[in-house]
């Protein structure tokens, strides 16, 4: 059994970058918890893995470029970032991300890692 991190929060992203506001809201939540020095991790599954892919240009569709804000995560000590390998493979996506320190995990590893968190918020 994996060890539970006390008062830990997992933010599970399931939407692509510009499908509604969920991606930005999830990032805001992670940064807020990070600013209060809470243990927070970011998970990307399903269409959510698209948020991580390098080379997106929000300005072309008049959308806010919140993806640039991902680079702030390390300043708030949000260093636990996990992407689902199966989700990447199903979409023929390479692990070519616009942020560093993304850990690509198999389904089992992804599940195990998520279970180490007390609270899971899915966006």
């Amino acid at each position: 059994m994996t060890k539970l991190q006390k008062n830990s929060i997992a933010v599970l992203n399931a939407r692509s970058a510009f499908d509604g506001n969920e991606g930005k809201e999830a990032l805001d939540v992670a940064l807020i918890f990070g600013s209060y020095e809470q243990y927070v991790s970011l998970f990307f599954q399903g269409e959510g893995v698209r948020q991580l892919i390098k080379g997106q240009q929000a300005n072309l569709i008049n959308a806010k470029d919140y993806l640039a804000t991902f680079s702030a995560l390390e300043f708030y000590d949000v260093e636990n970032i996990y992407a689902c390998l199966t989700s990447l493979e199903q979409r023929n996506l390479a692990a070519d991300f616009h942020i560093n320190n993304v850990n690509v995990l198999t389904e089992q590893e992804f599940s195990d890692k998520l279970r180490q968190h007390k609270t899971v918020l899915r966006f």
């Binding site: 059994m1 994996t2 399903g46 199966t86 599940s111 279970r115 899971v120 899915r122």
Partner: protein, 94 residues
């Protein structure tokens, strides 16, 4: 750590249930079908999940004319509240 998975959408329209099952641990987890999630009672994705690990809110099933089979447990919203305390964590899939 056990998780109670609340599935609120139909797998015929969304992939929430499929993503849920990627994380599902059939030894310790359970699924509760709520709202349009009740349509998943007959979905092939749940065919290999042990029925004792699947619950459905009976009001929500009845409202959609979905029949809960005898080996699947139909529960009330009040029973759902009690169920929360049997698991370490809850994830809402919607």
């Amino acid at each position: 750590m056990s998780i109670l998975h609340l599935v609120r959408t139909s797998a015929y329209q969304h992939d929430d249930l499929a993503q849920c099952l990627q994380l599902f641990n059939d030894q310790i987890d359970a699924i509760v079908l709520i709202d349009d999630g009740c349509y998943n009672l007959t979905h092939s994705l749940l065919a290999n999940i042990e029925k004792k690990n699947i619950f459905a809110i009976y009001e929500h099933c009845d409202a959609r004319a979905m029949i809960v089979s005898s080996n699947q447990e139909a529960i009330s919203l009040a029973q759902l509240t009690k169920l929360f305390f049997s698991y370490d964590s809850v994830i809402t899939w919607q």
